[in-house]
Structures are given as C-alpha cells and as structure tokens.
Subunit: 581 residues, 2 copies
C-alpha cells in the first residue's frame, strides 16, 4: 500500500499523462464543472496550455455547451465532473450527441471500487452509466505506482478516435481516484506540462460508394424526373459544390432544408428550392407532382408537409445516402441505401454521366419557387416598416434577422416552432451563414447552452421560443465574454400546439400551451445579460444591430400575438399557393 | 381484439413476410431449434425455398454451428429458437461472433408483453438479452392486422446489413407472438412462398486508407529494415497478392500465422516466414534482431514467443491496419492506426513506391526460415514411417494431416494447445487449404459444432484436444450427412497447462489437467459416428485417408503421451534454434 503522499502525487501524474495525451490526440476544449473527486483531472486540464478550459456550474448546461462547441469546431469536446449524481446531469446532452452524431468525451471522476455499495458519500454505480447511448465506455484501473504511460496515451487516443468513427458520438471514461486526491504542499509552479507529440496517430478511412450501387442508381435515375432532398447534416467539405454539380447534370431541383446549410453561400444555388413549404400546399399544382426518383441526403425531412409529399411519392425509387450505419427512413420507403461519404457519392454519380430529366420537370419547380419567393418578398416589404406590434410575424422577422447578420455568422435555432419557421421563412442568399440546431432528439432542453458552446467558436445568434428559453435560462449565467444574441419568440407558451388537434381540448391551455409568467428581460438582466423587449419589426432590427455592434450577450424578447400569427400564416400560405405556377 | 383464427393467420403471414424479406436480403442459412412459440417463424423458414434449414436440438450447439456456417460462407447465418432459457444458450457462440466479427442473426421467439412478470410459463425478460454484445437489437410490435410490409422488409434488410457493417457481428431480433400461434386447419399446401425481389438494396462503402497516413507510413518504413506480421483474419479477396507484392517491394519478410490463411495457396510465398516459433528462440541470432518498423494486419499474434519478440521490438514504428474500429494492440505499442481495408492499404502503400530494406535484412530471415524448415523436414522423415505409439508427436502429425488433405479442404483448429501446435508445425505449401478457429474469445466450448457449421459448406477436418472434444461432444449428434473428420489429440487433459507454472502445484492434476475417463471412440459410435483410435503416425494417415474416402463423419482419437510430447518439443526446438543461420 502506497502512503498518502505517494497517492496524491500519483493521481496528479496519472491525470496529467491522460490529459497530455488527449491534447496530443487533438482535444482542444473541455468544460469543467467544479467538484472534489475530479480535482486531479481538473488541475491537469487547467495546466495543459493546448486545451481551453471553461467552467460551468450546472453539469447539464456544461454538457450542452460542450455539445455546441463540438458542433461548431467539428472536433470532440470534453466534459469533466465529480462523482455521484453529477454525471447524470449530462444525460440529455449526450442523448443529443448520440442521435445527432456529435463527438463528445465524458470524463466522470469516481470513487474507488471498495467504496461502492458501502454507504460512502456521493458514491453511485457509474459503470456503463449511459448504457448503449455511448459509443464506448472504459474504466481504467486506479492510478498505481506502476501505471503504464503507453496504455494511458492510447486510451486517450482511442477515446478521441471512438468519438469520431465509424459513428461520431459520446464516449465515456469513468476515472476513479483514491484519497488524498492531490499531493500536499505547494502546487503553484510544479507539474505544468507542455503539449507532447502523440504516441499514436489514428487515420479513419475514406468511405467510397460501392461502384455497383452507383451504376444501379444511375440506371434508375438517368433521364427521368426526380429530385434531390438535402436534410439537416454536417456535410463534408465540398458537398455543396458536388451536389449542385450533380443537380446540374441531372437538371433536377434540390429541396434544401435550412439545416442542410446549402441555402446560404457562394456555391451554385440555381437549382435550390427553399419555398416548398408554400408551393407543396394542396392548392398548388406541384402538390400532385410525382417524381420517378428521389436522392436523399442527411436527416429525414423536418416538416410535416414535405414528409407527406414524400409519402405520396413513395412508389418512386428512393435512394438514401448516409456515411454511417443509421437508416434515416421512418417511412420505410427507401429502395436503396448507399453507405458512403455524401460528397464522394455525388462525385461518383456525376462521373457516371447521368442524363438530364425532361426539360419541363425542373422548370415547373423553378417557377413555383420563384412565385413563392415573390410572395415572401412582397410580405416582407409590407411589414418591414410597419410599427404596430401586431405586425410582428415570424415570416418576416426571420428574413429580417438573417439580413442583419454579417457574413459567416452562426445561427442556432431552437426546436419546436422556431426551427419549422426557420425552414419555411429563411429564404436563401449569397452571404454565407452557418445554421445549427439540436435535431438529434429535438428537445427544447439545453438549447441556450448549446448556442453558448457555438458562441465559444465565434459570434452566434440563437432563435428560440419562450418555453425553450425558460427551460435553459441558467445558461445565461455562463455567457462569459461570448458574443451571443438570444432572440426569444414569446408567443405565450407552446405555440406549436396551436397547429395540432389538442388545441381544441378544454385542458389545452393548462397542460399543452403552459403559458409562463416569467419576465425574460428581467431574468436576463439578473444574470448580467442585456435584456430588451421590442414591439415592432423596426424596433427588432434596431435592437439586433445594436446588440451585434455592442458584442457580449443580449436577450431580445419579441412578443408574438399567437392568434394574429396563426392568421398571418394562413394568409401567407394561401397567397403563396395561389401564385401562378 | 382479433378473434383466434385471425391471430394464427396473422402470425404466419407476418412471419412469412419477414422470412421472405430475409431471403431477399441474401440470407441462405438458418439453424432452427425446436419449440412452440417459434412455430410461425419455423414454418415460414421451412417453406422458403431460398433458405436452407438445419435443425439442431441444443441451442448452444445450433449457435456454434451457425457461427461456423457464417465463417465458411462469409455470409450471415440465422438462428431461431423458442422463448425462455432457450436463447440464453446462444450466449457463448454470440460472444465468439461478437469478438470474432462473424455476422449472425439471432431470432428469438417471445411471449407477448402482457405475460412478462405474471408467472406465465417459459417467459423471461428477453429485451436486450445480450446487452452490448450484439451490434443491434430490435423488438418489433406484435403481428397486428395492419402490419406494415414495408417496415418488415426493411427491418429484415437492416438486420442483415447491421450484421455486416461497420463491424460484422451478431444482431438480435426478439419476436413476440400471441396464441394461437398458427392458423387452424390444413397447412399442408397453403402459404408456401417463393423468393421475392428485395424491397431495398444496401451497399456498404469501400474503406480506402487516408492518403496522408499512407504517405507518413512510407516515410517511416521506406529503405529501412522491417517486417509485416499477418495475424488471423478473414482477409478480403486479393489480400494475399497485395501483401506479397508489398513485401517484394520493401524486400521484407512476412510473418504469417496459420490463421492468416497466407501459408497455403498459389500466391507468391517467397517472403513468408512460418517457422518463427523455432528461429525466434533465445539460441537463435534472430531473437535479438530489431526491426525499425512493423506493419501489422489481422489479430494480435497468437503465440507467446512472437508476442514477446514484438514486445522487445516495441521502440519500432508499429503500424496497425484494421478495417474496423477495434484496436488489436494489447501491448499498447502501436504508433499508427490505419482504419481501412487491408488489401486497399497494401495497394496504396505499393503505389507509394517505398524502397527496399538493406539487402542483408531479409536474407537473415530467409536463411533462418530455411534452416528451421530443414529441421522440420528431417523430423518428419524420421517419424513418418515409425510404428510405435510413443512416436506420435504433434510436430509430425500436423504436417501429415495437412499433406493428406485434398486441395481446397477446410481445417478447423481447436483452441488451447491445438491452435498453437498448428501455428508452430503447419509449414506451408502451394496447395490451397482454408483454416478456421474460434479466436474471438478463444474458448474450448462449441468447437465441434463450429466445425459442423463449416462442414455444411464443404468437407472439413477438425483438429482438437480431448477436453475440447468432450466439452462439445453433443455436436456429434447433429453431423447429418456432413463430411467431417474430427481428429482428437488425446493427451489426457489440459496439456497446455504443462507449459505453465501451475504444472508444479500439488493440485495441478485435479483442477488444471482434469484428465477425463470418457471413451471418445465409443461416444462417437453411440452417436452413429465412425470412431477409430490410432497408435502410430502410419495408422493415423491410413485412418484419415480412409475417412476422407468414405465421407460422412469420423472421429479419430490420437493418444498422445504428454511427457514424451513435451520432451520431443524441447528437442525439436533445440535443433531448430541451433541450426546455422
């Protein structure tokens, strides 16, 4: 048995070896939540100059923040917390990381095995705490005098690698320490470490499509009317150009969701459709259009309207392309699954020299898109300068918000109604913007903390509903110096339920709508965040532009009159669908 | 609530839809164990002409048989059993499939959810019964009148696809049925189905190595002394030629284990070393040779001697190539992990144009290999015609066995001492032979049943120890018409322990060696299997050749004198190591 002084020193050296190896494997961000048992690792992180440390009290918020950082940087972010119930607060965020395929490294400190089940304080069974929801779990042995540096280095490299491939997601390391946790004496100057070279390099493969599947697909789609549907995804570099070139060769439209990140940027957007929420309505001739084929990339479509239209198109050849082993096909309508890199698959199809669809096919979509665009522009012009509160309508507020943002800005969109409104009303443009949302499990939890994580990588605007804002209000305690503007669409509760059958129930307001009485502006101010409430689109634009100029964190509350919004939407869609096609 | 007649018909239609879709997805083999709850699926399988059904009473044996079939055909094989403890008998085989990366489809029948926990007969909680040890688990809803054919078809295709990629292994579907299990009335002629086209095609990606990793590797290995180590694996087509060409370009030896399947066949074997068990012994000059680099393919090496030699080489650049996300590196010595197809990686390295190692490097290995080969040949010649029992020694019996087999024959090798002896003594040759073993979890359980599964694909010889044979003797009850020769090396218990420190303990014989008193020949005969006992190498060769000519199942017991075998080995290795290099 080592004596106490040895154990503390061993703990720190062990922790520093692991953290150093994580840095060598490319880890650049960790979010720490304070605690005692995690002290050796916390100190090791704080003294590793290659890793940026952020400290967030609430582990749930910390986990969503790390999620946002990993989304923004496209690199794994780590979490560290103490033993007991602390890591269980990570669960909602790691579920999102699991389903959203976001690399996350969970480091839970633990007590030694001899304390588990014997009434020791803050001691729970942390073995495989998150079950199948993590890509890998490991519980290395306690630090001991003869610990293997080679093992710890590869454990670190492997945890990072497992969080990336074959399916990005969370990896959990449970790390037990005996007391004393740290060596006694002055730790002020000692034990700082520099980044060291990696003990092992790991190279994941390029995923090329199987050639026969490409040939078979081309035989099914060439010279026939079809379309490409791009759902939300973090597509690989070059995808926008590759899919545009493929659409040009096949002369087909691309239905691009906001979260596909194809709507904004300098690439060829000439075949994009972003107004299908309008032109697929029953009154439109395209509602009855039936493609012979569909190529689907990314997540299954977001909106009920597009889903229903795809369902009606189900006899069509439906080719789903995905780089991992998940099947985004809840309608069970795919006729071919190509497991490969999406950009490489576009290039392989392009090289196959498919023939264009009949000429009138894409023209009908282009015409409908143009007509819907005209309706949206007209609505925007009418509202842009109106001062009355009742005129604030998501269909004009969202384009106004996007217009005000500088090129390259990040937009995090909350779930429920906000993301559907973004998809319906964002429009598209040359200015690059990068959109994010938590669409893995589509929860309204942790949305502000996720935006906070994204803002760690550069200025971010978050667009969320009032319930979403309230659910994660604690995130505003941790904004630090980040440039983040939170736009809260306050429609007095769960506005999305207005569009569902439950709206007719007598219990509707109490248990679905759940209007809250919180003053969001005052709440923001209580956290030291600038809070403003606007009453018109003009005020909104002024407020956003001021917030962007000022920097730091601002919450802008936008009161939405629910009844008026419902009515405005109906009118908007009727005009769009009735537009000549 | 449907009435009873409807439920039975629904069960059968539902089962036929699923089984038909499994056939369409490429399933060709199922092993059924009899039971009641599984009746709809059993009947559906028996009436699907595209799927071969075998019936094995013992679910454990059935599962190892399916494992062997999947190994031999390189395609998923399915299992079906009833509810209760029945599927738990699959556990040892599916652990082997998990670690051995063998595609297996587990179909457990179940009782409906309302019976679980209410004292119903043969009802256990089968949800996620095998935890993390399966690639995927699914429990579709009970057959109901509005069941979705499209869903069942894709569920079937997905189960097959999940068993193949990204990491081959077991997939578990738990399938509940309500009573009555089958429709009443005459089922003799009705409900037979033909194979239908697949509702969905699935194409897994080609895994190409990341180009930078190839360039970095070449910079590390070009013009420097190194070697290629090929452990056990089911390598992709073309690997033998690709790795031979790479070795030729780099002018380096290839250490090829028996289970690499590189030792026998028409490819270029000029740089192979298969006698390293001899020439890496301390007396040999090569024991102290230190490569500058190692390229490792397949499983981590089998024998302690090669493992130790690799450990001593640990400062070397060690590049591990693996097509999946597992890390075969228990020494934590790899400096680079390339996750990609092994054949494609060889080709990419070859295209990079690496320079050969210094000329004397490979020459020293070639000389040692030649000398060890000469010792083995001399030993073989001495023994081949000797008649005394004491002269039966694994080092000559194994080459004699392999010599007697026709080209293309399958050899299953049991674990423990047999596989190590195969690796040490197989030699190599132009005649193609295909070797198998259960090296995922390396158990002595289920070995004969696995060989039985391999024999379903074509004639197979199994080489196993006496404890291994006894552990799975029940497999002999299910040999059916298969051509299988089981060679049992009977050294009176756990002979491998003779080589370990426990051999000196007073408790050794009782708890490690565990000599058995079973008469294996009589046991075989009790199952209707021909049983013979041989007393010399000459008798052994005659017995094997007769068994191969006769066809069907034969068990040949070869008594081994443990003490004599230990002494013969020592002598053999001393002469090999002392050979001039």
């Amino acid at each position: 048995m080592s004596d106490a002084a040895d154990i503390g020193l061993l703990n720190l050296r062990w922790a520093q070896t692991l953290v150093d190896a994580l840095a060598a494997a490319g880890l650049r961000d960790v979010v720490l939540s304070p605690g005692s048992r995690s002290s050796p690792l916390a100190l090791a992180f704080l003294r590793q100059p290659a890793i940026r440390c952020q400290v967030i009290l609430d582990e749930r918020s910390a986990a969503f923040c790390a999620l946002g950082m990993a989304k923004a940087t496209r690199q794994p972010a780590a979490l560290l917390c103490t033993s007991g119930s602390a890591p269980t607060n990570w669960f909602p965020a790691l579920i999102e990381a699991d389903l959203g395929a976001v690399p996350l490294l969970l480091l839970s400190a633990d007590r030694p095995p001899e304390l588990l089940g014997w009434g020791a304080n803050q001691t729970i069974d942390q073995q495989r705490l998150f079950g199948n929801h993590v890509r890998a779990f490991s519980a290395p042995p306690l630090p001991a005098s003869a610990f293997s540096t080679a093992y710890l280095q590869r454990l670190a490299a492997r945890a990072i690698a497992d969080s990336r491939w074959p399916l990005p997601g969370p990896v959990h390391l449970n790390l037990a320490f005996r007391e004393p946790l740290l060596p006694a004496g002055d730790l002020l100057a000692t034990h700082a470490v520099a980044a060291c070279p990696a003990a092992i390099s790991v190279a994941a493969p390029l995923l090329l499509p199987e050639p026969q599947a490409i040939a078979d697909t081309l035989a099914e789609i060439s010279a026939r009317p079809g379309l490409i549907v791009c759902g939300g995804a973090d597509y690989p570099p070059g995808f926008a150009d590759a899919v545009s070139a493929l659409a040009a060769q096949l002369d087909c439209p691309i239905f691009a969701e906001a979260l596909s990140n194809l709507r904004f940027g300098a690439h060829d957007r000439s075949r994009l459709c972003v107004r299908y929420e309008g032109f697929l309505r029953p009154a439109s001739s395209l509602a009855a259009a039936r493609p012979a084929w569909l190529l689907r990339f990314g997540a299954f479509p977001l909106t009920r309207r597009l889903q229903d239209w795809l369902r009606a198109a189900a006899p069509a050849v439906q080719v789903v392309i995905t780089a991992d082993s998940r099947w985004p096909d809840p309608q069970h309508a795919a006729s071919r699954l190509i497991q490969a890199d999406p950009a490489q698959t576009c290039r392989a199809l392009l090289a196959g020299g498919g023939k264009p669809a009949p000429a009138d096919w894409r023209a009908s979509f282009a015409q409908a898109e143009g007509a819907a665009e005209a309706v949206a522009s007209a609505a925007f012009e009418v509202c842009a300068h109106a001062a009355e509160t009742s005129k604030i309508f998501e269909g004009t507020l969202i384009p106004a918000l996007l217009e005000s943002l500088p090129a390259g800005h990040r937009v995090f969109c909350g779930n429920s109604l906000a993301i559907r409104d973004l998809d319906a009303f964002s429009g598209s443009g040359d200015k690059p913007l990068r959109f994010f949302a938590n669409r893995g499990a589509s929860g309204i939890d942790g949305n502000l903390s996720t935006a906070l994580g994204i803002a760690s990588d550069g200025p971010c605007v978050a667009l969320v509903g009032d319930l979403t804002a309230q659910h994660d209000l604690g995130a505003l305690a941790a904004t630090g110096g980040r440039d983040m503007v939170v736009v809260v669409l306050n429609n007095g509760g769960g506005g999305i339920f207005d569009y569902l059958p439950v709206a007719a129930l007598p219990e509707f307001e109490r248990a679905w709508l759940t209007p809250q009485s919180i003053d969001l502006v005052a709440a923001a101010q209580s956290f030291g965040v600038v809070g403003e409430r606007v009453r018109s689109l003009v005020e909104f634009r002024v407020s956003v532009e001021r917030a962007l100029r000022r920097g730091g964190a601002t919450l802008i509350e936008v009161p939405i009159d629910r009844q008026a919004s419902v009515a405005r939407r109906r009118e908007f869609w009727q005009r769009g669908a009735a537009a000549p096609v």
